[in-house]
Structures are given as structure tokens and as C-alpha cells.
């Protein structure tokens, strides 16, 4: 469904991603593991077009989207949940969801009510300004906001970063149930436990280079690789 081939991405003059290739099939949850600063977020931003690659190709649903603007990528069904939880701080929780609402292709559509029943705590703070939410609430909101665009592919960038264990467990459960609705997910994580529990396959990225790819079972078994690239 999504394929990156030989992607090189820069921030200004600094070369961040080196020849990154990865593939996600429809219905899969694929984990992108790596330490802080390894290039996970840059990979996500490259896919979304926020930091377009200088070289390489990104194909999504059989369409070359390498040069496409971010809003057009989103309209093709890419949902983006950034790592730094950029809620629209001046707007209320409800407004954050309403302004991005878009109907998708499937019959099972997300709307505000559905997001609220998916993340019940959000329903109680509908009128609160998003800038005043807790980390967990903000994370639910950014995921809910992405769901409001009715995506069929979700880019989840470190959804559990900095959250309390209880909230992490709840989010992991909800991501699992998103997978069951047929949503394809690329999940960038530092939290191995969460990623290994959710994903079908995994990639390890380190210093902007993909070092490993394989099934989750292989990755779980390969302690050597995990130690080398993921231990802090």
C-alpha cells in the first residue's frame, strides 16, 4: 500500500535519511523502531510531504506521491499523528475535530461522536481549550483528529512518548482495535514493548539508515539486534 524506495531526506544542509526503503501492505501494522534522533519522525514527515525527500520515491496506493503537497497526500487517505502532539491549542477539543472532518471511502465513517465513543475521556472535555489538556488527552485528541479525516493509512509517530503506563496501555489497546477495523498503520516507537505487541512486522532505523527488517517474531527473538540498535 505504501512503498518508500531509496529515500534521502535533508533538513537544510544536514542529511538525515540515507537510502531509506520500506514497505507497508494493506491491513498491516508495521513498527518503525529506533532511538531518539534515529530518523523515525523524519521518515514520517517524508511520507507526509512535510519534509519532502531530495531523492527517492514514495508510492502510495499505486500512485507516485513523491512531489505531492501534504494536503493532497492527506486527501488520498494518509492520516498523520505527529510526535510532538500538535493540537490546535487555541481551539476547543470539539473544534479541533470538527475543522478537519472529511468523509472517506469506506462505509464505516468516523465523526465526532464516534471519536468520543472511541476515546470517552474526550467527550467530557469537548468545550475545553486544547492547549490546556494533559499529555494523554492531547494524544487522544491528535489520534482522534487524524481519524476525523477518515484515513485508510495512519502514520503514528511515537504515540506513547512521555505518557503514564496506564495511558500507554489504554492507547495500545485502542490502536489494536483500530487495526481490527482494517486500518493500515505505520507506528514509530521507542517503546519496544508497545511496538512488539502491536506490529506484524518491524523495521529498525539507526542514524538515518534502515538496519533491520523482519517479522515481529524474528525481531523478538533477535536480542542481539535489539540490543545494538535500540538500547539506550
Amino acid at each position: 500500500m505504501l512503498e518508500l524506495t531509496g529515500v534521502h531526506t535533508y533538513y537544510g544542509l544536514s542529511h538525515i535519511l540515507f537510502d531509506v526503503s520500506l514497505r507497508v501492505e494493506r491491513g498491516e501494522v508495521v513498527a518503525l523502531l529506533g532511538r531518539n534522533g534515529a530518523g523515525k519522525s523524519t521518515t514520517m514527515r517524508s511520507i507526509m510531504g512535510l519534509t519532502p525527500p531530495k531523492r527517492g520515491r514514495i508510492v502510495y496506493k499505486d500512485q507516485d506521491i513523491t512531489g505531492l503537497k501534504p494536503h493532497l497526500r492527506a486527501r488520498l487517505g494518509l492520516g498523520y499523528v505527529p510526535d510532538d502532539r500538535r493540537v490546535f491549542a487555541d481551539l476547543t477539543v470539539g473544534e479541533n475535530l470538527e475543522i478537519v472532518a472529511r468523509t472517506g471511502h469506506g462505509s464505516d465513517q468516523w465523526d465526532k461522536d464516534k471519536v468520543y465513543s472511541f476515546f470517552p475521556p474526550l467527550a467530557e472535555i469537548d468545550g475545553r481549550q486544547a492547549g490546556f489538556l494533559s499529555g494523554g488527552e492531547q494524544q487522544m485528541l491528535t489520534i482522534g483528529r487524524a481519524l476525523m479525516t477518515n484515513p485508510d493509512f495512519l502514520l503514528l509517530d511515537e504515540p506513547t512518548e512521555g505518557l503514564a503506563p496506564l495511558v500507554v496501555r489504554m492507547l495500545a489497546q485502542q490502536i489494536q482495535s483500530l487495526k481490527q477495523t482494517g486500518l493500515t498503520v505505520l507506528l514509530a516507537e521507542q517503546n519496544q514493548e508497545v511496538a512488539l505487541g502491536l506490529a506484524d512486522r518491524g523495521y529498525i532505523i539507526d542514524n538515518g539508515v534502515i538496519r533491520y527488517s523482519g517479522t515481529i517474531e524474528d525481531l523478538r527473538a533477535d536480542e542481539e539486534v535489539r540490543k545494538r540498535y535500540l538500547m539506550v
Binding site: H71, F88, D90, L91, E95, I99, T149
Partner: protein
């Protein structure tokens, strides 16, 4: 002695109202400037030129139609004309610069100011024009023994209406909410599938329309002339700065400070009246360097 203090008080009240009606025009112009600053993050230097065009178009339309209706038609036509002009400039040239450096955008609005100034000279020449208020708005009514122009009362009533309308547009409509989100994080808005370029077009057009409206409203109160663009743009920038960049209520507050100090200055020390607003601005900035209300920057 009693009568002297009575007159002073009435005169003070009268000047206060004059200042508040001036506030309406300053607010309308600077709220548009503030809106563009807040969302597009660009100081639109050509804002004053669009205000001037609004005034000249109002003059031409009002005198062409004439009579009671002339001015009212012009009041509707001029802001829309200015808004459409801004939209054409934005879609034609400006929108292609959004991904360039910020300086390019600033230089663009600066050159637009020069070009528009010359366009006004070409079309209307360099003579000044003056336009009478429509007949129903002419003359004065008595206010505590002092005459108060009807047209100023009209401005006094219009100001709050425009403020509420603008507030409703930015807080109650979807496009307004999207614009507020884009003001803070345009990248995230784009990543959610919204074409930020069109949001910017809307905001730029709306902001410039406010400049045109300000120009239309000011037309019956002063000479319509070359140079009114520079006068207003300085005032509008100062108002936006003391109010808080991008904050609409800040623009209202700043305009009130500017308008009232100006008119009170005329009463107490006419020769130096022009200094008063600038002293007020200085005082505000000494104590609140970032402006009175929360800036969106």
C-alpha cells in the same frame, strides 16, 4: 465659573465621542492588518494603499450615482472591490511566494504599496477630493449643548457591530476556526488535508476588505488624497503593536487608545495634539513591550 467647567465637561464628552468614532475607522483598518499578521505572519505594508483605494472608489461611485443612495452603494461596493483586487493579487502573485523566505513576502507588500500608490495617481490624479456625507447623515444633533455630527454617531454604532461580526467570523465559522488553527500551526492544518493556500487567500482578502471598508467610511470625514495611505499605515501598525499582534480585541483596544488620546489632545493642547497618541504608544510599550493583549506570534 460654573458655566466654564460645564462647557469643558461637555466639550470633553464631545471630544471623547469624536475620538471613539475615529476609533471605529482605526479599528476596522487595523483589525484587517492584524488578521493578516496573525494568520499569514506578514506585515502587509500595502494595507494603507488599499485603504486609500477604498476611499477613492467610494468617492467615484458615490459621486457617479449621486444623491441619497450614492454613498450607501459606494460603501458596499468599495470594500468588495478592494477585497477582489487583493484576491487577484494574492492568487496571481502573492501565493507563489509563501514557500519563499519571509523577507520576500515583506518586500512584495512593500512594492505593492508603491505600485498601488502610482495606480491611484494614474486613475484619480494628484488632486484631493472631498465627499459629503449622505444627506440623512449630514448635520448634527445636540449632545449636552454641544453639537455632535450625525455621521460620527453612525461610526460609533458601526464599530461594535463590525467587531462582533469579525469575532463571529473567526470564532463561530469553520473557515474562521481553520484560519486560527493555521495561524498557530499551518503545517498541521495542511497535514490534515486542508489547503492552507486557500485559507491564506481568504484571510488576505478579508483583511484587505477591512482596509477598503475603513477607506470607504473615512471618505466623508476628511480629504481623500495621496498620502493618506502612509498616514494610516503608520497608525495601524502602531495600534496592532500596542494591542498585541494578531489579536482582534487588541486592535480594538489599541484603536481606542489612539483615537481617544488624539481627540483629547486636540482639546487640551491643539498645537501638539499629534504627539499625544505617540506618547500613549510609548507608555504602553514601556510597560507592555509585547502589547496589551496576548499576541498570536
Amino acid at each position: 465659573m460654573d458655566s466654564a467647567s460645564h462647557i469643558t465637561l461637555a466639550a470633553l464628552g464631545q471630544q471623547l465621542l469624536v475620538g471613539l468614532s475615529r476609533t471605529t475607522i482605526l479599528f476596522i483598518v487595523s483589525s484587517g492588518l492584524s488578521l493578516i499578521l496573525g494568520v499569514l505572519r506578514i506585515p502587509n505594508v500595502s494595507h494603507g494603499s488599499l485603504y486609500m483605494i477604498g476611499a477613492f472608489v467610494t468617492y467615484s461611485v458615490a459621486t457617479f450615482i449621486g444623491g441619497q443612495t450614492g454613498f450607501w452603494v459606494a460603501l458596499a461596493v468599495a470594500p468588495v472591490a478592494v477585497g477582489l483586487l487583493a484576491l487577484a493579487v494574492e492568487r496571481g502573485i502573492f501565493c507563489h511566494l509563501y514557500e519563499r523566505e519571509h523577507l520576500m513576502l515583506l518586500l512584495f507588500t512593500f512594492s505593492l504599496m508603491l505600485v498601488l500608490g502610482d495606480v491611484v495617481k494614474l486613475i484619480w490624479g494628484s488632486d484631493y477630493r472631498s465627499l459629503a456625507a449622505p444627506p440623512m447623515m449630514q448635520g448634527s444633533f445636540s449632545l449636552g449643548g454641544m453639537p455632535f455630527p450625525r455621521y460620527n454617531l453612525f461610526l460609533l454604532i458601526l464599530g461594535p457591530l463590525v467587531a462582533v461580526g469579525l469575532w463571529a467570523l473567526t470564532n463561530k465559522t469553520k473557515i474562521g476556526k481553520i484560519a486560527r488553527a493555521a495561524a498557530v500551526d499551518r503545517e498541521m492544518v495542511a497535514a490534515m488535508g486542508i489547503n492552507v493556500s486557500w485559507v491564506f487567500a481568504f484571510v488576505f482578502c478579508l483583511g484587505c476588505l477591512m482596509a477598503g471598508l475603513g477607506g470607504a467610511l473615512v471618505a466623508p470625514t476628511q480629504n481623500i488624497t495621496q498620502g493618506m495611505d502612509h498616514a494610516i499605515i503608520m497608525e495601524a501598525f502602531l495600534i496592532v503593536i500596542i494591542g498585541g499582534l494578531g489579536n482582534m480585541w487588541g486592535a480594538l483596544l489599541g484603536a481606542a487608545i489612539f483615537g481617544i488620546t488624539d481627540s483629547i489632545g486636540i482639546l487640551v493642547w491643539p498645537q501638539f495634539a499629534i504627539v499625544f497618541p505617540y506618547v500613549a504608544v510609548t507608555i504602553v510599550l514601556v510597560f507592555r513591550p509585547k502589547g496589551l493583549l496576548k499576541s498570536t506570534w
